[in-house]
Symmetry: C2
Subunit: 242 residues, 2 copies
Amino acid sequence: MPLQPVSRRSVPDEVFDQVLGEVVSGALGPGEALPSERRLAEVLGVSRPAVREALQRMAQTRLVEVRHGGATTVRDFRRYAGLDLLPSLLVRGGSIDVPVVRSVVEARLLIGPGVAALAAERRDAAHVAQLTATVAAYAGTDDPVERQRHTLAYWDLVVDAADSITFRLLFNSLSAAYEPALPVLASVIGAGESAGAYRVLTAALEEGDPETARAAAERVLRPSTDALLTALNTLDTSRESP
Amino acid sequence: MPLQPVSRRSVPDEVFDQVLGEVVSGALGPGEALPSERRLAEVLGVSRPAVREALQRMAQTRLVEVRHGGATTVRDFRRYAGLDLLPSLLVRGGSIDVPVVRSVVEARLLIGPGVAALAAERRDAAHVAQLTATVAAYAGTDDPVERQRHTLAYWDLVVDAADSITFRLLFNSLSAAYEPALPVLASVIGAGESAGAYRVLTAALEEGDPETARAAAERVLRPSTDALLTALNTLDTSRESP
DNA sequence: TCCCGGATAGTGGTCTGACCACTTGACCAC
DNA sequence: GTGGTCAAGTGGTCAGACCACTATCCGGGA
């Protein structure tokens, strides 16, 4: 059995997660006022600084608005929250949220080719070498989870080659959401992917033509996207009609 | 003169911004250890809870790693930070960072058409009506800043129509970065845009064909993107050779 | 009757000082 | 070397106090 680092959740972390849960679940709707810091501290049995830390982090995520002298109110996270909220929405309460995963998978398909096109314009020899090595590593294993880790590494390199800080941060945010769900998704994607498509994409990137790379990236992403979406659909309907 | 709300920066906000500046400017490189909380509190002349709040927010942004009992160390923000960091990178120290803006503008051009395609599949009559109204408002004003605000509102509606939580949060993050720079960018974009292109896009969305919408979105975004990129290039070179 | 003004209670903002829990590194015994 | 012990320094948490600000209510003046 693989040993894992013991998780030690701090008090403010715990408070943060609880309040965040109330907000994203809709138990506390936009405009509603939270209990006062003192009251929250009392109810949760923790000190006020602990509550403060949690609420300030909530404010930074634009989930609540705190006003000096006034009450702290809930904001509409769909309208104001940033992409960093995605992981919290994805795995709410232990299980994954199907519509959220669907949108992430769609976004991957829509954004990936664009990044590949940028990368084709700006890659250098070192990038190509690393990409080639990663494809080889991908082709060299049969473990689905391991293969998915290599695809993540591959796209990480593509983003590097694209040399865009915006896409880099975007990729980081999506990865942070993707990573925890990776074991679950790996089995679904399964045979949907092939090393061949990645080799074609790598060749296109080496070639340096943006449109070729864009098309190749689409051919890489399409099969696993379709596999995931159909799997999500059956998941959805099976839950709706038990 | 237009009155503005007085800005009341809290102590933890100030600390956060200072430490963040040190990190994103590279003054504190990845792996380096921050001074201890007590030391920071002493140096900055504030209390430890204030420092703590700031550092916890830094940790949430994945800019630093705090370890109980050990030192707090700087992480590589390019590798780990999420898209919510973008505004901080964009306007570092009062002036805007040209390469960062460039990447945002590129991303806009690469992502926009994809969102439009999604929106074409999922829009309903209410969306189309609102889009039409927004185009009319856009065409009805000559003030560049006002026009850009309508543009933002238009894309906000497109994202709504696309019905994707991922793109919604992504749009929120990009907007948060875009908004402060809007007055500056508005003058550059200037005549690059036309209500006509937006009308075509709206018609394509109403029609419901993804590929038509994608192409129309590209035609909407291309001119202003080109205008911005060339403006950024001259800005760049003029700064390099004074 | 209406409206304005100040009292007041309750909120978030900040500080102090203390103690606990953990990591690190040095030192020591085996 | 290996493992155990200990001290110093770090972050984690708490309690209580006071300040700054807002919302609300209520009484007096128009």
